[in-house]
Symmetry: C2
Subunit: 171 residues, 2 copies
């Protein structure tokens, strides 16, 4: 299977990664969340080549994760800004940051810190269950088949689907 076919997998991870899972894309989005909007600023911040940046921005606009707006009509200058769909990728970014802060930090400490305006403290972000407020971890979650897979099985699609692993989960 080629990479550009992974969105055919009936899997939210695969479908999401088909949009944001290639080189540079998440770093571009990191910059978006930090307030970068202009082509040349992305380029300086990232060290990406122009045509690669151009390609990635176009794809992100096509998938409606960012939008391209003229900010200077006389010059045709543009700014790229997150859409609602894009803003909602923030948990992905924060979870990457949290993990990186713990496992890839050097002796100097964490590169950035994040202040939560609700309480004024440094963020200690956790993934919690909104029903019980307990932390969500691989050991307290059991995946089960959802309608997105079950309906396709009932219609005879996914004939060679192997659901063994789902019921094993992580031990």
């Amino acid at each position: 299977m080629r990479w550009d076919e992974i969105d055919s997998q009936v899997c939210s991870v695969a479908r999401t990664l088909s949009l944001i899972g290639d080189r540079w894309t998440m770093l571009i989005l990191r910059d978006c969340f930090l307030g970068v909007t202009r082509f040349s600023d992305f380029q300086k911040s990232l060290g990406i080549t122009k045509h690669r940046l151009s390609d990635r921005l176009t794809k992100l606009v096509d998938s409606e994760i960012i939008k391209k707006q003229v900010y200077d009509t006389s010059h045709n200058r543009y700014e790229y800004k997150l859409t609602k769909k894009g803003v909602e990728l923030y948990p992905v970014l924060m979870s990457l940051v949290s993990w990186g802060d713990k496992w890839t930090v050097d002796n100097d400490g964490t590169p950035l810190e994040y202040i939560h305006s609700s309480c004024g403290n440094k963020i200690k972000a956790g993934t919690l269950c909104e029903h019980c407020d307990d932390p969500v971890s691989a050991f307290t979650v059991t995946p089960i088949l959802g309608p997105g897979i079950l309906k396709k099985i009932n219609r005879g699609e996914l004939v060679d689907f192997d659901n063994q692993s789902i019921y094993k989960s992580i031990k």
Copy 2:
């Protein structure tokens, strides 16, 4: 800048993506969390070519996100399992799932559902601040320079560092 140099950026996102940000790696980890452990099962589940899978597994073992263990000494058969470092990537996976469930779902519904063993409900995972329990979103978080950057600036490294964007953040 080449992709294999991004871990030189003083940024937890870049450093994390240098380990798990290339094609296939997150999908391999998805399978790890679902209970897949064997080379051939990864290959069947992912549709990845053998040498690419071999390459990715080796890199994940090198970065201590998974470990390779013999499960059949007479045959030299191996299983790959998440380490503590790897298990802690679960929030990254769940945030990708949550976003994908919302923005990439088809008419049939979500592919998988996740039951939280703490409360028995379907997971509604949210990224919350552990100080105030309020949701963490791009609009309620302000990034500031941390010691990992400040100390390097004080030592005269990062001379051409541009922190403009950090103070803009997202509006």
